[in-house]
Symmetry: C2
Subunit: 207 residues, 2 copies
């Protein structure tokens, strides 16, 4: 998926084809956030003026690049998870055995399709935390990119949350679902307030 | 730019190269928002259950597709505007005439670099309005995509606003700058509240 052109991806997103959809867009938002954290690090590390934060930003860069790889991979994972759910629903349901087998496959696919966007939420949340560091300590000349990073990551987090809600709703295993929904709420809890704080820090520096 | 692969774009974003940067990411966020509005329209139009909203969603689709084309083009426009500012700063400043010519070119380039992200803000704001319609009237099966659309468009709007602030700050022509900043504030004014309202509509439908 990530080897597709931006234009081809957007054409697919806009079309009536079921994938790519919002899950893929969420992963791209997160990946853009991670990439922009990396950009601020790359334009801060090695500059005399910022020598005091160099070690910390090298650590941030390693983390943001790791998250970028993970989030980029999630564009395709979202498609696979969605296709598996659709594939399960398409199974035959003539006999009782077929019905039971189909129901099992749907439930198994829904678990994967709940965990996949939750993992995206987790990664986006981590990007928000890294954005906060670079907004505070990064090169002032590119500080707006820290602001774009936090907004993109937050949009990715909340977008992906919608897919967790949808798929968790269909799960029969309520313990499994509740555990995921609980983690999701903890990821979302202070994300909005932190994002606003980072945005205000950046806005104050660019104005 | 839009013909580049997603991966290549993200690599460029993360690198220490000055472009692409947050402006390009903002345009992609807006374009993903427009594309997702189109997707919801495409999966609603032609369905018996939604025949009553068909005419309205056909109109929304025409608008969202127009905005998608505009926003996709803005990925490259952001690079061009940035390069023009950098090019102007790089002009010789030996003689008084050179200094004056350089200052003029910087100011002219900054005007373009203020208007370009403002146009992106305007397009993202329009996508938010369209998201509100599809969140209310679109096919329930893909309603989460309306939620992702509004979050992406709002992230694009606020991201692009940072570039308006930065470039307007450098303008000597304060009337020009103030007019842009005033329009920007009116675009931002109720965008946050509207985005939350649309997100809550979608969240209630998926839960």
């Amino acid at each position: 998926m990530a080897s597709e052109s931006i234009e081809t991806f957007l054409d697919g997103l806009a079309s009536s084809a079921p994938t790519p959809g919002g899950g893929g867009a969420a992963a791209i938002s997160g990946a853009m956030g991670a990439a922009l954290v990396s950009m601020v690090c790359n334009l801060t590390i090695g500059k005399k003026k910022y020598v005091e934060v160099e070690a910390e930003l090298k650590d941030v860069l390693a983390k943001s690049e790791g998250l970028r790889v993970v989030l980029t991979g999630m564009i395709a994972e979202d498609v696979a998870a969605f296709d598996a759910v659709m594939g399960a629903y398409a199974l035959p349901k003539g006999s009782d055995e077929e019905k039971a087998a189909r129901a099992d496959r749907i439930q198994a696919a829904l678990k994967v399709a709940t965990d996949a966007p939750l993992a995206c939420c987790r990664a986006c949340r981590a990007v928000i935390d890294l954005s906060a560091i670079v907004a505070e300590k990064g090169n002032l000349n590119v500080i707006s990119d820290a602001g774009v990073a936090v907004l993109s990551a937050h949009a990715g987090l909340r977008s992906s949350a919608l897919n967790v809600y949808i798929n968790a709703k269909g799960l029969d295993d309520r313990d499994f679902a509740d555990e995921r929904l609980q983690e999701l709420e903890s990821l979302l809890a202070d994300a909005g307030a932190l994002t606003e704080k980072v945005y205000e820090v950046v806005k104050a520096k660019v104005n």
